[in-house]
Amino acid sequence: MIIAITSLSLLGLVLGLMLGLAGRYLKVEQDPIIDEIAAMMPGSQCGQCGFPGCVPAAEALASGSAPVTLCPPGGRVLAEELAAKLGVTVDLSAMADDLPAMAAVSEATCIGCTRCFKVCPTDAIMGAPKQIHTVFKEACTGCKACVEVCPTECLQMHPIPVTLGTWAWPKPALAA
């Protein structure tokens, strides 16, 4: 009986010690999936999803409280990647309608108020006080932050024009 008691308590002690050590040295501060998701997000902290930034959005995605279609700048591609990452199925039909857009300044109504480029998360707008501002097409993510602050509604979203370089064949009609 003594042998049994000693061996069991020894076993308990050793395993407990190992667990304790593992708890100390292999500690995970945060669910690693959050970092992985945050790395996939656009990172412009635009706030269109309703969360204060990309990392809080990633946390919500990881906990399952937000849909994978939450990120408008990421679009359909990001939604598909997120769905694959989180192992969920997703209905992308609603997203397909939402074409990617880009902000543009209407030069007739811009008063040079400087508000828009202060809120642009990617520094895609250039301007100076009382000078007409302009949008760098390459850097605009279509987050609409500037549209909301523009006092004269001269900043509007426009669909990104298709060019010869970006045009692609549509999917052939399904076989009968």
Partner: protein
């Protein structure tokens, strides 16, 4: 010479009889020429002329931009009346930046820099002149030729293959060029051999062009390092990979170039253009175009100034006998669908073809019966049925795993499919979608960098402000202390 066989391939009806025996004629000059600034793979050229400028034939209209690009020259003398968007010869029907020239009818050349002996020039000078002449691959791929002529610096080139395969049905422009101007082509080939430091040139011609073979053999017999090779007629013999495999038995590995095997492939039309550029100093301003298809009254080969509208070319060939069901630029297997005939002839236009209802033969697609015909036909050894099934379901990565990126879009699989499944169309769709994703990802990465830089700047500004405030506060306190002491 021992030839090798590439797997798969098809034998479409050639339809070459209508134009193969007729001599090349010159297309009369039109009142207006629409010269697109992108007639090549790579960056569009940047205009060097303004509206209202007088230009001479061969004068530079737009300069090349970046490493892979080509300049564009005036196809005739006249006045630049507009630089605007004009419909591109492309299935999308989208516009491309175009210089519109009103011709004066004199067709006056600018002073050309003639070269007596191009073999005294060094390789860099030859490729620079080829680049400045705006020469691109005239087989239809329109890749800037000067870039290919510089490849000997990276890979030692042993063989220059001259592609006279012309395996596409209806097209006979290369056939006629070889029959009528063999000496000029051979001269162009020898200049390219010199520029590439290559040992030998092989001119590969399909066995359905006996006259061209005869003429080219006569022209080539003076030169030991230029050989005419007769290859069997089988589509897609004119594809670079399949041609290299037929001649050398070597398969170009996935993601590699023929230059990795020491082989460079150029089209016969390109060789002719190189001859004109170096001997006469004339840039590429016209090309031979096959006007064919059942809907055309008098099909023939024309030497057309670039920028001539396709509709004018059709009119010159007697218009349509019956209304065409489909207009194509290039051949029926790999050519581009044209949205309408008001598009210009460009450097890559090997032919313009108007097909009748009967020739198009639209069949409703039916479900795949997994017969494997497409696998037997695929010259690249792929499984088209598996790739198409995955593309259809949106599993693009699955299609890539099955070798989508090695597909040359030759259309052999669609041609043989008994269920009329648009296989190659699925692959075009999947490749376009993948390219869009790549662009999206690239943009997302750029955005992340921009956002990070902005965050850092904001933090720095915040810190600077806080420090300034603290400094002011300290100064104020020091001052008030001093006052208290006083």
């Amino acid at each position: 010479m021992k030839l090798f066989r590439f797997r798969g391939g098809v034998h479409p009806e050639s339809h070459k009889q209508a134009t193969g025996s007729k001599a090349i004629e010159a297309m009369p000059l039109q009142k207006r020429l629409y010269v697109p600034l992108q007639q090549h793979i790579g960056a569009p050229a940047e205009p060097q002329v303004r509206i209202g400028d007088q230009v001479l034939k061969g004068q530079l209209l737009a300069n090349s931009q970046g490493a892979i690009s080509a300049p564009v020259h005036a196809p005739s003398s006249g006045t630049v009346i507009d630089i605007t968007e004009h419909t591109a010869p492309h299935p999308s029907g989208l516009g491309v930046r175009t210089v519109v020239i009103e011709t004066d009818g004199e067709d006056r050349w600018q002073d050309c820099q003639k070269t007596i002996n191009p073999f005294e020039l060094d390789a860099d000078e030859i490729s620079a002149r080829v680049g400045a002449a705006g020469i691109v691959g005239l087989g239809g791929a329109t890749f800037p030729s000067a870039v290919k002529l510089n490849l000997w610096k990276k890979h030692p080139i042993y063989t220059l293959v001259i592609n006279g395969g012309e395996c596409e049905p209806y097209l006979t422009c290369d056939d006629r060029l070889m029959q009528e101007r063999p000496d000029e082509i051979i001269d162009g080939i020898r200049i390219m051999l010199h520029a590439l430091h290559a040992k030998q040139a092989l001119i590969a011609i399909e066995d359905n062009k006996p006259d061209a073979i005869e003429r080219m053999k006569v022209a080539a017999h003076l030169f030991d390092n230029v050989t005419v090779v007769v290859v069997p007629s089988r589509y897609p013999m004119g594809s670079e990979k399949q041609m290299v495999q037929t001649l050398t038995g070597l398969e170009i590995p996935a993601g590699k170039l023929s230059a990795d095997l020491g082989v460079i492939v150029h089209n016969v039309g390109t060789a002719y253009a190189v001859h004109s550029a170096l001997r006469q100093g004339r840039p590429l301003v016209s090309r031979i175009v096959t006007v064919g298809g059942g809907a055309i009254n008098t099909p023939r080969n024309l030497e057309v100034p670039l920028g001539t509208l396709v509709s004018a070319v059709f009119d010159y060939c007697g218009g349509f006998g019956e209304s065409p069901a489909r207009l194509l630029m290039g051949g029926p297997m790999m050519g581009q669908l044209l949205p309408h005939a008001e598009v210009p002839i460009v450097k890559g236009s090997s032919g313009v073809i108007a097909l009748t209802e009967a020739e198009v033969a639209i069949n409703r697609p039916r479900p795949c019966i997994r017969c494997g015909s497409c696998i037997n036909a695929c010259p690249c050894g792929l499984l088209p049925l598996e790739m198409a099934a995955r593309s259809r379901k949106g599993d693009l990565q699955g299609a890539v795993d099955y070798g989508l990126m090695d597909c040359i879009a030759c259309g052999s699989c669609s041609y043989v499919c008994p269920s009329h499944i648009p296989l190659v169309q699925y692959f075009s769709y999947a490749k376009g979608e993948l390219a869009a994703r790549r662009r999206h990802k690239q943009k997302a990465d750029e955005t992340r960098k921009l956002a990070e830089v902005r965050m850092q700047r904001m933090e720095q500004e915040e810190r600077a402000k806080a420090e300034a405030a603290a400094r002011r506060k300290a100064e104020r306190e020091a001052k008030s202390k001093q006052e208290a002491v006083v």
